[in-house]
């Protein structure tokens, strides 16, 4: 995956996040959107990294990482239980990164400890957040995107 496509992936996740958890939306709608987004991210990864898909095992969980980022971004504007779901979405991201990394470690690849530490730090830090203002929402989104792009 080239850096440009990697950056585009987080924009795609950001765009998809807009459609999740709309006020009054049914579980069916959100469930179908989640499945649809996962399919979309899979197709994106498949065509975006067609040549390196077979050789780069780090791409095996790439669509799931995109989905986790999408969930993180979508929780920032939840009306209720925002801090709880914001932390849970980051823990999901951490989970995918950590155990995906362990699976790859056993096959001889390095674990992305920097990224894991960054997500863990953000998740832990988020538990201290008091009332989340619009500025803080923006700040969190920038931090997540920075972790995605730079780590």
């Amino acid at each position: 995956m080239t850096p440009l496509l990697n950056a585009f992936a987080c924009l795609l996740a950001l765009a998809c996040a807009l459609f999740l958890w709309r006020k009054g939306s049914s579980p069916y709608r959100n469930g179908a959107l989640l499945a649809g987004f996962l399919l979309l991210f899979s197709v994106f990864t498949y065509f975006g990294a067609a040549e390196s898909l077979a050789t780069d095992p780090a791409l095996e969980h790439y669509p799931f990482r995109m989905l986790a980022l999408c969930l993180c971004l979508s929780t920032a504007s939840l009306p209720l239980y925002r801090r709880r779901y914001l932390v849970l979405a980051q823990v999901l991201w951490l989970w995918i990164e950590l155990f995906g990394g362990i699976a790859l470690y056993y096959r001889g690849f390095d674990v992305a400890w920097t990224r894991i530490a960054a997500v863990a730090g953000l998740a832990f830090g988020s538990t201290f957040l008091s009332r989340i203002s619009r500025e803080m929402e923006f700040c969190l989104m920038v931090l997540w995107l920075a972790v995605w792009v730079f780590f």
């Binding site: 069916y28 469930g31 899979s42 898909l53 095996e60 709880r84 989970w95 155990f99 096959r107 008091s130």
Partner: protein, 587 residues
């Protein structure tokens, strides 16, 4: 009704138990085993039942932790199904081992028995996570059951739910790593943790929906979730197909397509229709596990699904029905009490009742009422206050355990990374936290008292756990008793060492005399590398003695092999080592 279902269970259990006994006696050759992965039906059934065992914690604990309303009866049924499924899931890894009496090697005691244990093996994670999960699920179920008569226990339900929430996901993640950490092409997948968890949640929901149908009511919320899970799993299958080109059509039909029939009103509203959909999901996911564990499943090159495999399947279904409905019959009077919501449920009616209850209740700790609703201050929830000290103790204990692992002498020569230890971390935290939480509640806060029968039960469980821990620590004798099957008495047969080697030794030592790479990762202790230098330094007599008398985890073959058989094996080993040297020195 329960008695009839138990009878059905018994009809399935009896022939199944015979097949299981035969498979334990005969070993891996009796069931369908994949030619490449060496895994077969027992592992498929283990993964299937451990997936089903997630229903209880998912539905009860996670819903409770996230404030999603569910009636008590459904939650207890789900928790009971977890316990029954765990009993069955625990049986199949033992069958799979082939050498059942060596089961004690999977405990994470490292080298304290004087035996080098392979801490890198995912099996050690499996054992720890599942054992802790079983203990905490039992504790959670007992608390939930007792809480209605002793309301002070309610305050421990939610902290326990938060403790179990990560644990349930951890357990199946670790099961998925058994696959994802290997070199089998079909199992490569850093996404396996999410894949397995989704499959487990899906199958757990299907089981609970099926059990609710047998109970004569339904929970629409769970049916909706089941349908949503089928969409997400289909998306994951699509990614797997893009990545590897493999696809299990029968699983897709039964667990992907047929559940969509829930959208048809007359099927959805019929009890038999709902049961058929849930049964279809369970069948589809069992086929998926079979396909996953044995990538060559269904191909002409592979052995067919024989009577032993059918027997094991019948055993698992029969045992589940016997244990689950038997326990339900026994605990029925504790599960149905005044105040529980029972009947057709979709979540909304319970929410209204609970909202009305909360209106009159005093403001909770750390909760502030606002114009929009309410606001909880960070680190101020009630469950956090209950859990913080035991959790701190749990984390401290887990850190000490990690340091102890690092300090053990054998690992100076082993590439032991953080990635090898992390999967054990949370189960240790959860276990110590739960023990500290309940010890404080019982001895310090005196939040509950145990009746005589409960004391006897608790003492029995503790004695059983202590006996198991002692057995794991002591291990078993490596020497065999009476001869079980003498392979041959004819030392003149020149093909015999090759046959014996391939039948008995190749699983650990490899058919070429090197390590069996997959086995080394899966089992332990790590088998000795039999290179020419080592063989010559030990000498024939010493090696024959090891084969006949056994050593460390090497089983004794005295009574099954004669001295000349063992000598033939030693010479065959040497010829393999010579071949390796010749290959290495070849240009």
């Amino acid at each position: 009704m329960y008695r009839f279902l138990m009878l059905v269970g018994l009809v399935l259990f009896l022939p199944g138990a015979c097949a299981l006994g035969y498979s334990v006696f005969q070993g891996p050759s009796s069931w369908m085993t994949d030619a490449r992965t060496f895994w077969g039906t027992p592992i498929s059934l283990f993964v299937f039942w451990i997936g089903l065992a997630h229903a209880g914690t998912l539905i009860s604990a996670i819903f409770l932790a996230l404030d999603i309303k569910l009636d008590r009866r459904t939650a207890l049924i789900a928790e009971l199904s977890t316990l029954a499924s765990l009993v069955i899931a625990a049986v199949f890894p033992l069958v799979h081992l082939g050498i059942v009496e060596n089961f004690y090697m999977v405990a994470p005691l490292l080298d304290v028995r004087g035996i080098f244990a392979n801490i890198r093996s995912p099996l050690v994670w499996d054992f720890c996570c599942i054992a802790v999960y079983a203990a905490l699920s039992l504790l959670f179920f007992a608390t939930h059951l007792k809480a209605r008569r002793n309301p002070t226990l309610e305050k421990y339900c939610k902290p326990m739910a938060w403790l179990l929430f990560p644990l349930v996901l951890w357990v199946h993640t670790v099961v998925s790593l058994d696959f994802a950490t290997t070199f089998v092409p079909e199992w490569r997948g850093a996404f396996f943790p999410v894949y397995f968890i989704t499959g487990a949640i899906f199958s757990g929901l299907a089981l609970v929906n099926l059990l609710l149908c047998a109970e004569g009511y339904r929970v629409r919320l769970l049916e909706r979730l089941q349908l949503i899970c089928s969409w997400i799993l289909c998306a994951i299958w699509a990614w797997e197909f893009m990545l590897k080109g493999s696809f299990c059509a029968s699983a897709f039909i039964f667990a992907g397509l047929l559940p969509q029939l829930r959208m048809v009103a007359f099927i959805r509203e019929s009890k038999w229709g709902r049961m058929a959909i849930s049964a279809s999901v369970l069948l589809g996911l069992f086929l998926e596990r079979q396909f996953l564990v044995s990538p060559e499943f269904g191909s002409p090159a592979m052995a067919s699904f024989g009577w032993v495999d059918w027997g094991m399947l019948a055993f698992s279904a029969g045992t589940f029905m016997l244990v689950f409905f038997g326990m339900l019959l026994l605990l029925k009077r504790f599960m149905e009490v005044d105040g529980s919501y029972f009947g057709e449920v979709d979540g909304r009616d319970i929410a209204e009742v609970e909202e009305a209850e909360h209106k009159d209740s005093p403001v909770r700790l750390g909760v502030e009422k606002t114009k929009k609703g309410f606001y909880v201050h960070p680190w101020s929830s009630e469950e956090y206050h209950v859990l913080r000290l035991p959790l701190l103790l749990g984390i401290a204990f887990a850190l000490l355990f990690s340091l102890w692992v690092w300090g053990r002498m054998p690992f100076e020569n082993v590439d032991l990374s953080l990635a090898n230890v992390i999967p054990l971390f949370y189960p240790v935290v959860a276990l110590v936290t739960a023990v500290a939480l309940y010890a404080r509640a019982y001895f310090v806060e005196k939040a509950f008292a145990l009746h005589r029968i409960e004391k006897i039960l608790a003492a029995s469980v503790l004695v059983l756990a202590g006996t198991c821990a002692g057995a794991f620590y002591a291990g078993g004798a490596s020497e065999r008793g009476a001869a079980r099957d003498v392979l041959s008495e004819n030392p003149e047969n020149r093909d015999l060492p090759v046959q014996t080697w391939n039948a008995r030794c190749a699983t650990c030592h490899g058919s070429d005399g090197k390590f069996n790479e997959k086995f080394v990762r899966e089992f332990y202790p790590v088998p000795q590398k039999l290179d020419l230098l080592r063989l010559d330094s030990l000498g024939e007599d010493s090696l024959v003695n090891v084969i006949l008398k056994g050593r460390v985890n090497m089983n004794a073959y005295e009574g099954r092999l004669t001295y000349s058989d063992a000598l033939g094996l030693v010479r065959y080993m040497r010829s393999l080592a010579e071949k390796e040297v010749a290959n290495d020195s070849a240009p």
